[in-house]
């Protein structure tokens, strides 16, 4: 009981201080090499191995030894002494790097072994860890010295080797990883071809613009099948808020410039005035807008991980819009009213522009998830010069229709390098 109490008091007295640390791997059944520039090691390799097994159940059967080849070598003695002089809590790993080329070579030849540097200074045991990945300590800190060597070893293990140990790689696995190209490095694709479909929403009001730009259009109602206050925008006649479906095929060349051909459909009810009794004969009246267009893309790709590439892009282009009318009288109406027969007619085709921005998330090089937002316009197509003998300027119906859209789509990609 007394021993236990003493142990508790002792454990609470031992503390550790970490100077810096970067992520490093601990191997199962790994080799742990102890290195000191002092006269002798503060703990024996055997004691350290026992502590590893005591405190980390995933460590397997580690082997520990003193790194004699470094203890005897002039180059590593110089660096060891220098490190012992300069290791303190204000240091970072970068500042403590080994500058000598021969020392750097020694560290990179460690393969998957881990070197634990120990030196006694100011009544503390300074610790620094090295592995093959860099010629600088991966982690450093200090633990308290005491006569109980097992306690020192436990303290070191708890602070630096308490994490989950990974399976040691075989020679061929190590070779393969060493020869593997950098995951962040990818050749620019010569061509990236995609087909996709998206679903979105469009409305006349574009966010962050004043409402009074739209107020008249949105409040406008069609009376007696043709009468509206204004006919410049289609949104004087049709409901602007709508679901938009689209299918498209496109390609990017050399990761910069691209093009896309799209087909888009949206359905819009006519905004009939509910007070107008003329419409009592009507079952429904709506228009489908079919758009076909071509856009040019400017894009830039960021390779974030092996399996995800993010490419923001901007696009602009033109489109042709066709309005397909869908009108039906109630079954009991034998003869439609005169107003029905002389109802509004839209142009056969409207020509407009489309522009916007988007971002593509390409998973595993083939599966794309795309978000876009932009603005489309539809205008009257002026394919013929106006007749100078015409009596009056004809009424422009749908001379300028603007709406904003947002959509999300899925794509399949083919790449050529």
């Amino acid at each position: 009981m007394r021993i236990l109490l003493l142990l508790i008091v002792f454990v609470s007295l031992t503390f550790a201080n970490e100077y810096f640390s970067s992520p490093y791997t601990i191997w199962k059944d790994g080799e742990y090499l102890l290195w000191t520039p002092d006269d002798s090691l503060p703990i024996s390799p055997n004691e350290f191995c026992q502590a590893l097994k005591r405190n980390n159940s995933t460590i397997g059967a580690p082997s520990c030894r003193e790194i004699g080849e470094w203890q005897r070598d002039t180059i590593s003695i110089l660096y060891g002494n220098w490190l012992s002089n300069n290791l303190n809590k204000e240091m970072s790993g970068e500042l403590l790097k080994a500058r000598s080329k021969m020392m750097t070579a020694k560290i990179s030849a460690l393969e998957d072994k881990i070197v634990i540097f120990m030196t006694q200074k100011n009544g503390l045991l300074q610790i620094a860890l090295f592995n093959e990945t860099a010629a600088q300590p991966q982690a450093a800190g200090s633990v308290t010295l005491s006569n109980n060597k097992n306690a020192i070893a436990d303290n070191i293990v708890k602070n630096y080797f308490a994490k989950n140990a990974e399976r040691r790689l075989t020679k061929s696995e190590r070779k393969r990883i060493a020869e593997e190209p950098d995951p962040y490095f990818q050749e620019t694709k010569k061509m990236d071809l995609w087909v996709g479909a998206n679903i979105g929403y469009s409305q006349a009001e574009i966010p962050l613009t004043p409402y009074n730009w739209y107020k008249n259009k949105l409040n406008s109602r069609v009376k007696r099948y043709r009468v509206t206050k204004d006919s410049l925008s289609l949104w004087n006649f049709l409901e602007d808020e709508s679901l938009v479906l689209s299918a498209y095929v496109g390609a990017t060349w050399y990761g910069i410039f691209g093009g896309e051909i799209f087909y888009r459909y949206s359905g819009h009810d006519v905004k009939t005035d509910s007070k107008d009794t003329t419409y009592r004969e009507l079952d429904h009246w709506k228009f489908g807008i079919h758009d076909i267009g071509l856009t040019l893309h400017v894009t830039h790709s960021f390779n974030t991980t092996k399996w995800l590439e993010i490419s923001p892009f901007a696009f602009f282009g033109f489109q042709y819009s066709f309005l397909a009318e869908n009108i039906e009288l109630k079954d009991n109406v034998k003869k439609p009213s005169a107003a029905y027969s002389t109802r509004i007619e839209f142009e056969d085709v409207y020509k407009g522009g489309v522009f916007g921005i988007g971002s593509r998330f390409l998973f595993k090089k083939n599966f794309g998830l795309v978000f876009r937002t932009g603005i489309t316009t539809r205008g009257r197509s002026e394919d013929t010069t106006p007749d100078p003998n015409a009596v009056a300027e004809p009424t422009i119906i749908g001379g300028l229709t603007v709406d904003g859209f947002i959509n999300a789509g899925i794509e399949y990609h083919w790449n050529w390098k």
Partner: protein, 258 residues
């Protein structure tokens, strides 16, 4: 009177209040956006550090601390030699040796005034050390010869100086910009056009080295410009060089970490 009556109506006042709130929100929002923009742009236009101190550089150098100078006239480089040759009436074939000796005596003399316990080591002493780079900032590196880790420099009289002063290079030229020498993102920006020089300039890089722990206590790059007058003489050049070298003790003491 009518206006006053109108403003007393409850509806009118309510509307006014609402307008006020919206207005406030708008100003706040635009102010916030402006702040974001400012932060964004200040982040982009990063200023570079032209000096760096080791974390443990905390004690100011005493005047009688032992210090050894490495790097004298042998680190001096002359650019636009022909311009200087014409200006000073020194023939081209002797201008380089002339400036080497001239700068050597200036460096030695000026630094001896600043440090009482200074040892001047022989020329080309730094050639014994490996050539390396010393990082000052993300993009700024000094190239030079630095003593090895773990080995203190001992003088011929068996004394070990406390500090070493390493002068890596001193470059005299016209209209020089330290960015085009040391900032690796701007090293390619050479101007390929002839123009009349406006300033004489000196660029110098140096390091204060702790000889006991073998760490670079303080490194800096300094730049001095002086307007060229029609009668620019050797004295003006000497003044400019002296001014640059006198910066060393000043910078060393101002670089101490607080």
């Amino acid at each position: 009177m009518q206006v006053l009556n109108k403003s007393l109506q409850p509806g009118f006042e309510k509307k006014n209040l609402f307008d006020g709130v919206v207005g406030d929100l708008k100003t706040k929002k635009s102010f916030f956006l402006l702040l974001c923009a400012c932060l964004f742009f200040s982040g982009c236009s990063g200023t570079s550090n032209w000096e760096s101190s080791w974390p443990t550089y905390k004690t100011v150098l005493e005047k009688n601390d032992s210090i050894a100078l490495i790097g004298r006239g042998d680190v001096f480089t002359l650019m636009r030699a022909k311009w200087y040759s014409n200006r000073l009436q020194i023939p081209m074939d002797s201008i380089y040796p002339f400036f080497e000796n001239f700068s050597d005596s200036l460096i030695v003399k000026t630094l001896s005034e600043s440090f009482s316990n200074i040892t001047i080591l022989e020329k080309k002493y730094q050639q014994r050390f490996p050539e390396e780079t010393q990082k000052l900032d993300e993009r700024i590196f000094i190239e030079g010869h630095f003593p090895e880790q773990g080995k203190s420099i001992t003088l011929e009289n068996k004394n070990t100086p406390r500090y070493l002063l390493l002068i890596h290079e001193i470059t005299l030229g016209t209209d020089l910009n330290k960015s085009s020498f040391f900032d690796y993102s701007q090293k390619q920006n050479e101007i390929d056009q002839k123009k009349a020089p406006v300033n004489m300039s000196v660029i110098m890089s140096f390091t204060l080295w702790d000889n006991l722990t073998q760490v670079p206590l303080y490194s800096a790059i300094s730049e001095q410009q002086r307007k060229i007058f029609p009668k620019t003489s050797l004295e003006d050049i000497a003044d400019l060089l002296k001014l640059t070298i006198k910066e060393i003790p000043q910078k060393i003491s101002s670089g101490v970490k607080k």
